[in-house]
Amino acid sequence: MTPAAAPPLAPPALTYACDVEDVPLGEGRALTLDGRRIALFRSFEGWFALDDACPHSGGPLADGIVCDHAVICPLHERRFALATGDALTSDDEAATAHEVEVRAGRVFVAVAAERSAAAAA
């Protein structure tokens, strides 16, 4: 289990996203949960989720390269931390991060309440 960007007031409900083997190791995949596009990553360090819209210009983060707790956006190669969504190589705002939990081969996401501007756009 990994911490989300900011702990929400009431713990959000966990929603089933996929089975572990649905995402190849080291990659990300997108899905819609609670009406928003979410990028779910199966990194070598564990599972993470961010809004699937790069804070820079809306790029599909799920299609990025994942390495060392971060994802590199496929459009302009800016890097964001998987756990917090923080921009690591630019001064973009953070991408909203969501909590992920894996139980018995099934992956659940707690969709955070706040939205990053790029995801709302």
């Binding site: 966990l14 929603t15 210009s57």
Partner: protein, 804 residues
């Protein structure tokens, strides 16, 4: 009141005087009057630019800020037209008057143009200025059938080299019975001829050119005795004529040059002369090393210090890639030790007179050149010349005495380099070169500078281009590790050396490297690939993809067009566009539609999304065009089929034109072929994107099969040696066209490259076939738009512990 120094002429000499004066006198008012429109530039490197076709702007000796910083008033494009020597005032062509305490004439020289008939015809050029250089380069690169260079001295040979580098055959015509007779003896001169022949340069000795044949433009040379040589480009390089016009007008004593004494002073008080215009003890020097010595002496004299110029020992290096030649001092002496291996093109000689070293000639093997040149310069006593010659080969630059001059162009001694490291904190050769200017002239001393700096700093500090900057690993190191330890995948390499574990930016580069070294028999790991290479389509700004099927040589069929139209309709493709590479692009395709679209198209991938071989653009050539000389579509299609599916460090775009009208723009492609009379011209390293670069001519071959073979060999050379994302237009100039030529055209090295390409090619397949055999069930799908998977209802709320 501060001293006022006016320097006439902004060549290497004028600039050197200006720097030397400023070093001694912070207060002096310095005015540099440059007749040429450009600020002082490095004439020596014009030879280099003739080969590369680079912009002469890169030759500037100092940037504009330097002149501002040093408070040097530079007047470009201005001439000194008169000097009132009594009133000590110089007048410029815009009527400005400049008062001076010291006037330095650095007016240089003019190329000698012998008064033979036809010397004024179009197509006849001297080789002295950037404009000459541009004219010769343009003529040699476009349309010249055969060129002739009159004069087989250092400069003539460099001119010939520059012409040959553009793929034009050239003959050097020389008056006497050996080349470079001023610098080398008969033994070395004889070995030069075959070495030049290998570079495509013919030599005709003992030919006196009587006239250049016209009538409308240069058509050839006629020699005394009646022989003729056809040539539509003629470069004249028979010597220099010191520029003394101004000196004579103002009454300064001149013979061939402006006569100076041992303090570089003329017969007029306060007037000095430095450089190629000056005649000292009867000699006129046509090289830069003496200029620095003269400039220093003149500055000392102007500053009122004791100044003595005893004359210079001449040293010369031939700047012709592929021929290593260093000479110093006399070509002969009372005793001579010679070591020669004519078959290997090696000739080494040390001449001794009166027990002292007076001359050295090193051809083909220049080991110990710095030490031998230093010995000749200082007239070192030598008892056993043969032993001295042998000992020198074992001496590296780091063993030299501190006083040895390393950079002749800028007069930098070894002690200056060591001081830059020890006293001024320079840590890398690049910093030392910026500080001392060593290596920034003709560049031939760079290896010595690097070695000395390495010794002074206790190791090499040049920051290499790292493939993985986090772990400071270069491509070469990693390739070696992969080869030696047999790594099969990116994760193997990561486990072994940590590369690709940190920021992750290098993962795609590593993935390419593993696939290249393992000849495509590596273990593919898609997480190391860009999205484009995971789904074999080009991601667009909105996250959709584009699909470009392959159309060999830009040729399609009605049936293919019909299928493309049907697919575009069925999948509501938002845009169908004709690309610059002569194909059709379906834009705005959703990821999950990719496999079905590929299946319906039934065409192979065009690799428009990958760092790989892209298109080979062709013109209709002999198939339909009335100008066609070669089968452009045929060759283009063969190239595309031979290379299809190969990945490369960066994309490779090619073109084939059926004649020099070049409708397929092959001269601005990474790899280009242009049909010419009797064969194909092969070009490399062109660009027509953010930068425009005309491709270098690698060679001209006779047949289509050879063109295919040579370009294929280069492709593999590039695959193996370029850094990731390094396009051919950066790669070729970085490694040097000469090196490329040597390896690619070399019989053994070329065959080995082709063999490795064959193995790599055999292991490629059409990536679009992954539509039937995906590497992962969700390769093309998002989680909620499953491809092959069973749709599953989302379960809301926390699941019961241990469910499933």
């Amino acid at each position: 009141m501060s001293r006022s120094v006016v320097i006439v002429g902004g060549g290497i000499a004028g600039q050197a005087v200006c720097e030397q004066v400023r070093e001694r006198d912070r207060e002096a008012t310095i005015t540099l009057v440059c007749g040429e429109v450009s600020p002082p530039y490095d004439r020596v490197r014009l030879s280099e630019i003739l080969v590369s076709g680079e912009d002469p702007k890169t030759l500037e000796l100092r940037p504009a800020e330097w002149f501002a910083d040093q408070r040097v008033d530079v007047r470009c494009g201005r001439w000194v037209t008169a000097v009132d020597t009594a009133a000590r005032e110089a007048t410029l062509d815009d009527d400005t008057a400049l008062a001076y305490d010291a006037l330095v004439l650095a007016t240089g020289s003019q190329p000698l143009m012998p008064p033979i008939p036809g010397i004024d015809l179009p197509g006849v050029h001297p080789f002295r200025t950037p404009a000459d250089c541009a004219a010769i380069h343009a003529a040699a690169a476009n349309g010249t059938q055969h060129a002739a260079v009159i004069g087989g001295g250092l400069l003539g040979l460099e001119a010939a080299r520059g012409i040959a580098a553009q793929g034009t055959t050239v003959t050097v015509v020389h008056l006497v019975d050996r080349l470079m007779e001023r610098q080398v003896d008969a033994g070395a001169a004889a070995l030069l001829v075959p070495a030049l022949a290998e570079l495509g340069i013919d030599v005709l000795l003992e030919r006196s050119t009587e006239c250049i044949m016209g009538p409308d433009r240069a058509r050839g040379l006629r020699f005394a005795g009646g022989d003729e040589l056809a040539a539509d480009l003629v470069v004249v390089s028979v010597g220099i004529r010191p520029e003394t016009t101004l000196a004579r007008e103002i009454g300064v004593a001149c013979e061939r040059g402006i006569v100076v004494d041992d303090a570089m002073g003329t017969d007029h008080d306060g007037i000095y002369a430095v450089g190629e215009c000056a005649q000292h003890r009867g000699r006129i020097y046509g090289l830069v090393a003496p200029i620095f010595e003269q400039a220093r002496v003149a500055a000392e004299a102007i500053a009122g210090e004791d100044a003595l110029y005893p004359g210079s020992v001449l040293t010369a290096k031939l700047k012709v890639a592929g021929i290593d030649l260093v000479t110093a001092g006399e070509a002969g002496g009372e005793r001579e030790a010679i070591v020669a291996d004519p078959d290997a093109g090696v000739y080494r000689k040390l001449a001794v007179s009166g027990g002292r070293a007076v001359g050295a000639v090193l051809l083909g093997d220049t080991r110990g050149a710095e030490a031998l040149v230093a010995a000749v310069r200082s007239g070192e006593p030598v008892d056993d010349p043969l032993q001295a010659l042998a000992d020198a080969s074992a001496l590296g630059p780091a063993d030299l005495p501190d006083t040895a001059q390393i950079c002749d162009c800028n007069g930098v001694c070894k002690s200056d380099l060591v001081a830059a490291v020890a006293d001024e904190g320079c840590a890398t050769p690049r910093e030392v070169m910026a500080r001392t200017r060593a290596g920034t002239g003709c560049g031939s001393c760079k290896p010595a500078v690097i070695e000395i700096v390495a010794a002074a700093t206790g190791g090499l500090n040049e920051e290499p281009a790292y493939l993985c900057p986090c772990r400071k690993q270069t491509r070469e190191q990693l390739a070696e590790t992969i080869r030696a330890d047999g790594h099969e995948s990116v994760s193997d390499v990561a486990a072994a050396c940590g590369t690709g574990r940190e920021c992750g930016t290098c993962k795609p580069a590593l993935a390419y490297l593993v696939s290249e070294v393992r000849a495509n028999q590596h273990r593919e790991e898609r997480d190391a690939r860009y999205i484009n290479d995971r789904v074999h389509a080009n991601i667009q700004r909105d996250g959709t993809f584009s699909v470009v099927p392959r159309m060999y040589g830009g040729v399609t069929t009605p049936d293919e067009l019909r299928r493309i139209a049907d697919v575009a309709d069925r999948y509501e493709v938002p845009m169908v566009k004709v690309t610059g590479g002569q194909r059709l692009d379906l834009l705005g395709v959703r990821k999950q539609d990719l496999p079905a679209i590929w299946a319906e198209l039934g065409m192979p991938s065009g690799h428009a999304y990958a760092k790989a071989v892209r298109t080979v653009k062709t013109c209709v050539g002999t198939d339909f065009c009335r100008f066609g000389l070669g089968d452009a579509i045929g060759l283009g299609t063969e190239m595309e089929k031979a290379w299809e599916g190969l990945h490369t460090p960066a994309k490779v775009k090619s073109g084939v034109s059926g004649c020099p009208r070049n409708c397929a723009e092959a001269t601005v492609k990474d790899i280009g072929c242009v049909a010419v009379e009797g064969g194909w011209q092969v070009r490399l390293g062109g660009a027509a994107g953010g930068n425009v670069r005309e491709a270098d001519v690698l060679c001209t071959v006779e047949t289509r099969a050879e063109a295919l073979r040579v370009t294929t060999t280069f492709l593999q050379y590039y695959r193996e040696n370029a850094d990731y994302k390094e396009r051919t237009y950066d790669f070729v100039p970085r490694v040097g066209l000469e090196t490329v030529r040597e390896v690619v055209l070399g019989e053994e090295s070329g065959a080995a490259l082709r063999q490795r390409l064959k193995i790599a090619k055999a292991a490629t397949s059409d990536p679009w076939l992954e539509r039937d055999d995906p590497y992962h069930p969700s390769q093309f799908s998002d989680l909620d738009e499953p491809g092959e998977q069973e749709p599953e209802l989302a379960l809301v709320g926390p699941p019961p512990e241990g469910a499933r």
